[in-house]
């Protein structure tokens, strides 16, 4: 069956999904984020919320204000006009303690890939990642850009509890976990940073479209960052453009 993209599909009586593709693709994601940014800067009255994802933008609207029929043509026009890359992406460097208690799978993964642990860490830390979307849980970042050699299927049996800040690998994707919870991903370390803290003035560290690099750190720096984070500090800012 062939489907033509982009297309706008119904999601009940209060949402439309603008689908640009059915695959994971950096250019597609950039267009999704550009459209969301455009709709944020020049809002459409009926739109109440938006959820940018890998390859689609979910738009929630209030049909008492405007019907889907009318909204569709507005969204089509906006989509044609929205240009990716008109705003520079925010770039974050995320400090990571590789291995240790949180790096449950680091050694096994290195063995599976026939790499030394240090080699694996170097590969993971050398790549630049793109936040494709935030979803699943508050602040949970799905990262694309994982080097192919590190692509690894999820575990057959998920673990019951993975801590916030864990650095994971699931299939072709990388993650930074934002809240504790069950997970079938493989974990190679942790960051002292908190992607989500409802007590902070800025509760969410990352947003869709941000770029992330990982920087290996030692125990002393980790302890200092842990203390800063425990004191409610974000402890990282985007790098100057």
């Amino acid at each position: 069956m062939s489907v033509t993209y982009p297309r706008i599909v119904a999601c009940g009586d209060s949402a439309l999904s603008i689908e640009l593709s059915d695959e994971i693709d950096e250019d597609v994601n950039a267009r999704v984020i550009a459209l969301a940014a455009d709709l944020t800067e020049r809002p459409v009255d009926a739109i109440t919320e938006m959820v940018p994802t890998y390859r689609s933008l979910l738009v929630l609207y209030d049909p008492s204000i405007r019907r889907a029929q009318a909204l569709r043509s507005e969204l089509e026009a906006r989509l044609r006009a929205a240009l990716p890359g008109s705003r520079p992406a925010r770039r974050f460097v995320v400090p990571v303690v590789y291995g240790g208690e949180a790096g449950l799978d680091l050694a096994a993964l290195a063995e599976m890939k026939d790499l030394g642990v240090e080699e694996l860490v170097a590969i993971h830390a050398a790549a630049e990642y793109r936040v494709y979307m935030i979803g699943f849980a508050p602040g949970f970042a799905y990262l694309g850009g994982l080097p192919e050699i590190l692509h690894t299927p999820r575990l057959a049996t998920p673990r019951q509890r993975i801590e916030a800040g864990s650095i994971g690998i699931g299939g072709r994707q990388a993650s930074i976990n934002s809240v504790p919870g069950p997970s079938g991903w493989r974990y190679i370390g942790r960051t002292p940073l908190r992607l989500f803290d409802p007590e902070r003035s800025k509760p969410f560290l990352l947003g869709a479209g941000d770029r992330v690099r990982f920087r290996p750190i030692g125990p002393e720096e980790a302890a200092a960052l842990d203390a800063a984070v425990a004191a409610g500090k974000t402890a990282v800012e985007p790098e100057p453009a």
Binding site: M1, V3, V9, A10, C11, G12, D13, S14, A15, S17, E19, D22, E23, I24, A36, T48, E49, M50, V51, P52, T53, Y54, R55, S56, L58, L60, P63, S64, R67, A68, Q69, M133, I134, G135, F136, A137, P138, G139, F140, Y142, S178, V179, G181, F196, P198, P203, F204, G207, A208
Partner: protein, 318 residues
């Protein structure tokens, strides 16, 4: 400050309000009530505005006391309510005085009950809402279900008469209406016929996040994995098991299963209130028809709330 004392709590009592908005892009579920109209009615009966927080319960409610006189009301369905052993009706407000014990039993022929107190539950809002999201531990009281000996602050109540609803909030009967999509084309014609012609059974595998349906399986011709996209309350997703799962108030914000259809907003509370083991059928409507249903449903609810009557003065001591 008026304090609500929890003597006993049923198995699933949480603080809820209209839920979080504007944070789906950050992965934060809206949470909020499983049956919004019933919550609105409970608030209105207690003399509260629609943004006040209430207690939502499934199964039995619990035993409650207050430190100052308040009004309260229970809505959602038929339920046994006693004040110091004396029966009181749901769908109308009553006084509760300090020292008296309010006991709320289990819902009959419904699942979710709403207990509103005048002034509303005044726990601190988290990310703009008092609604509890159990999975991420946000809102309500420490982000969790209530338990015996919990204490909850109540807000300042406005003076208001005791009110009664003229009738139970009559929800429509008949099939649960759904709008096909967004991944309706993952399922072939014969599966669509099954989906719309065969009954499904409301499974006891249900919580605030999702409702699983038993009955015929819905295999997806194009497979059961999609590149994750956004979800809604009412999304009917179908994992590889073929068993449909309806996402509810506390759903996660994105998901990787194809969604055959989305339940019309007016019918989602009805599905939530359908007791486990009961049959449901689905009927397809267009997006435009579902919009009409939602707009009409909002008007009907506003009319019903505006049509509440004052209880006769001799009843106000109850």
């Amino acid at each position: 400050m008026t304090v609500l004392l929890i003597g006993q709590a049923g198995p699933m009592v949480t603080v809820q309000d209209r839920g979080r908005s504007g944070l789906l892009h950050a992965g934060v579920s809206g949470s909020g009530p499983m049956d919004g109209p019933s919550m609105d009615i409970a608030n209105a009966l207690a003399g509260n505005g629609p943004d006040c927080a209430v207690l939502e319960f499934a199964g039995s409610g619990g035993v409650f006391e207050v430190t100052e006189p308040v009004r309260f009301a229970v809505a959602g369905g038929a339920v046994d309510i006693r004040i110091d052993g004396v029966a009181a009706f749901p769908w109308e407000s009553h006084h509760l005085l300090p020292g008296r014990k309010l006991t709320i039993g289990a819902m009959r022929d419904a699942v979710w009950g709403y207990l509103a107190f005048s002034g509303g539950i005044d726990t601190p809002p988290v990310l703009g809402s008092r609604a509890t999201h159990l999975r991420s531990g946000l809102g309500g009281l420490e982000g969790r279900r209530l338990a015996a000996n919990d204490r909850l602050p109540l807000g300042i109540a406005k003076a208001a008469p005791l009110l009664a609803f003229r009738r139970f909030w009559q929800q429509v009967r008949g099939p649960i209406r759904v709008v096909p999509g967004p991944q309706d084309d993952y399922f072939d014609r014969s599966v669509w016929r099954t989906f719309l012609d065969e009954p499904f059974i409301v499974s006891p595998s249900r919580d605030r996040m999702a409702q699983i349906l038993d009955g015929p399986l819905l295999p997806a011709a194009r497979g059961h994995d999609i590149v994750s996209d956004g979800t809604l309350a009412g999304s009917i997703q179908v994992p590889a098991s073929g068993r449909p799962i309806v996402l509810m108030a506390e759903r996660q914000t994105t998901g990787g299963y194809p969604k055959i259809a989305t339940v019309a907003s007016v019918d989602l509370p009805r599905l939530a209130q359908t007791p486990s083991g009961r049959r449901v059928r689905f009927a397809a409507v267009s997006q435009e028809e579902a919009e009409d249903l939602l707009i009409d449903g909002r008007r009907a609810l506003a009319d019903a709330i505006a049509g509440m009557t004052e209880k006769p003065p001799d009843a106000t001591l109850s």
